[in-house]
């Protein structure tokens, strides 16, 4: 998913339909619009109240061709509708040349397009996940509508989860695997105290999520599988047994969108498909990751844009495999851009709850992607990683 950059500061939003479509009953339009808003209020604390008149947050209009905002509609087909991001007012306009329909494979389904446009009104840009509601293309009438995981993560990144939800409250899976959204140790003290090596010295080498959704910490020649707030039974294990051919003392690691896990050490990197080396490795970092330095401190994939961030000393690099060159000339940039983070970190991870975590020595920092700063919380960050992540006394 992608966030445009603005969002509403209040969660109780109001809307009105100031111009109805020619070919639908007003009551039908009212119902479909309300349903479309509920797609987003189901997973957040946002509420939407219809008003007949007066100032509102989101104004909805069905109009044709040029209609006053300089972005004319184009008749049947092509552009179906557009909406403004919160910073530009949040209004949603629908091309009334289209044949808007309700619960019918004919014409264009109003509910689905409205739900998409209201995503823009709330601050979401287009997603490159084909199955997402926020993908730019109309996919035709879907009798059984389900919000994609990508959409839920997007809206919750902006407005947080619904506070009345039980468990992770995330059950929509269409296309994307349902992520394990658990509340990370900051809210739940450890259950099984540990007192082996990682508790004596919680400094780690690297941290990553596997393609199956497990989280692993690497330390020396050993690795630990992490549970919700501790280390799984039977760990640590030897890295050489976990990933045959992989040495210890790893600098950095991440699993990319292609499901492959990449390990970095010194000037070299290894690629694994699950637990099997995926080809002829190691290779030189300079070969496979042009523009990225050797002897890295940490690396992670950031869900917000799917790009890879590498950290070394006081600098970071952003790597986009789909671009040429993959690293823009504006990099490296100072880590101080990430407000509150120290230099020379040990590990970095975007966890499945959407927060990004940075580790240095025996401490960790929880980073808030919305404020783009270390989270303000009680107790404050940094916190001891042994207690919160590795179940140490």
């Amino acid at each position: 998913y992608a966030l445009q950059g603005s969002r509403w500061r209040v969660k109780a939003l109001t809307y009105k339909i100031s111009k109805y479509p020619k070919r639908l009953k007003r009551s039908d339009v009212d119902t479909e619009v309300a349903k479309a808003f509920s797609v987003w209020s189901e997973f957040t604390d946002l509420t939407f109240t219809a008003k007949a008149s007066g100032p509102v947050h989101i104004e909805i209009k069905f109009v044709e061709s040029e209609h006053g905002d300089g972005d004319a509609f184009d008749g049947v087909g092509g552009t179906l509708a557009h909406a403004f991001f919160p910073v530009f007012g949040g209004d949603a306009h629908f091309d009334d040349a289209e044949l808007w329909t309700v619960n019918s494979p004919r014409g264009t389904n109003l509910f689905q397009v409205a739900a998409h446009e209201f995503g823009h009104s709330l601050g979401l840009s287009h997603s490159d996940v084909r199955s997402a509601l926020m993908a730019p293309f109309y996919r035709g009438y879907e009798p059984v509508f389900k919000l994609d995981t990508d959409d839920v993560l997007a809206i919750q990144a902006l407005y947080g989860k619904k506070s009345t939800q039980s468990g992770n409250g995330l059950n929509p899976t269409s296309g994307g695997a349902s992520p394990r959204t658990t509340t990370r140790p900051a809210f739940a003290p450890p259950r099984a105290p540990r007192d082996d090596m990682i508790c004596k010295d919680p400094k780690i080498d690297a941290l990553f999520n596997s393609a199956e959704g497990q989280t692993y910490a690497l330390k020396g020649n050993k690795y630990y599988r992490l549970t919700e707030n501790s280390v799984a039974e039977g760990y640590p294990k030897l890295i050489s047994e976990g990933w045959p051919g992989l040495p210890g003392d790893i600098d950095a690691a991440f699993t990319y969108k292609n499901g492959k896990t990449y390990f970095f050490k010194g000037t070299k990197y290894w690629r694994y498909n699950g637990r099997q080396m995926d080809g002829d490795y190691p290779k030189e970092i300079s070969e496979g990751f042009t523009g990225i330095p050797d002897h890295l401190d940490a690396a992670m994939v950031w869900g917000g844009n799917g790009k890879i961030y590498f950290y070394k000393g006081s600098k970071f690099w952003r790597f986009d495999p789909l671009k040429r060159p993959p690293v823009k000339s504006s990099y490296p940039k100072p880590i101080s851009n990430w407000e509150g983070l120290p230099n020379s970190i040990d590990a970095a991870l975007q966890y499945t709850n959407g927060y990004t975590y940075f580790f240095k020595g025996d401490k960790y920092y929880r980073f808030n992607d919305r404020t783009f700063a270390v989270d303000a919380a009680d107790p404050p960050f940094p916190r001891p990683s042994g207690h919160w992540w590795f179940g140490c006394k």
């Binding site: 905002d69 552009t79 179906l80 909406a83 264009t108 998409h116 287009h126 730019p136 789909l322």
Partner: protein, 85 residues
């Protein structure tokens, strides 16, 4: 109307943010340089999950013809200056 010509594709790519409005350089007769064009096509193909060829192939033009939302895919080219009023 379905996208079937380079000109229509250029309009599409600039409408949805893949080609900056200033892509055509008046200094050289308003020509669009090849690398800018290829990158724009690649960006669209990548975003839409197509094979990234940089070429205006059938698959790409068919997707450009599909009904869609009017909001730009790439908001990067300058801020979206459309204001509410």
């Amino acid at each position: 109307a379905p996208v079937s010509t380079t000109t229509q594709a250029e309009i599409y790519l600039s409408q949805f943010g893949y080609l900056p409005a200033s892509a055509r350089n008046p200094a050289n007769g308003g020509l669009l340089d090849a690398s800018t064009w290829i990158k724009a096509v690649q960006d669209f193909q990548s975003f839409a999950g197509l094979n990234v060829t940089g070429e205006l192939d059938d698959e790409t033009m068919q997707l450009m013809s599909k009904p869609r939302c009017g909001v730009r895919d790439k908001v990067g080219y300058g801020t979206d200056s459309r204001s509410k009023r």
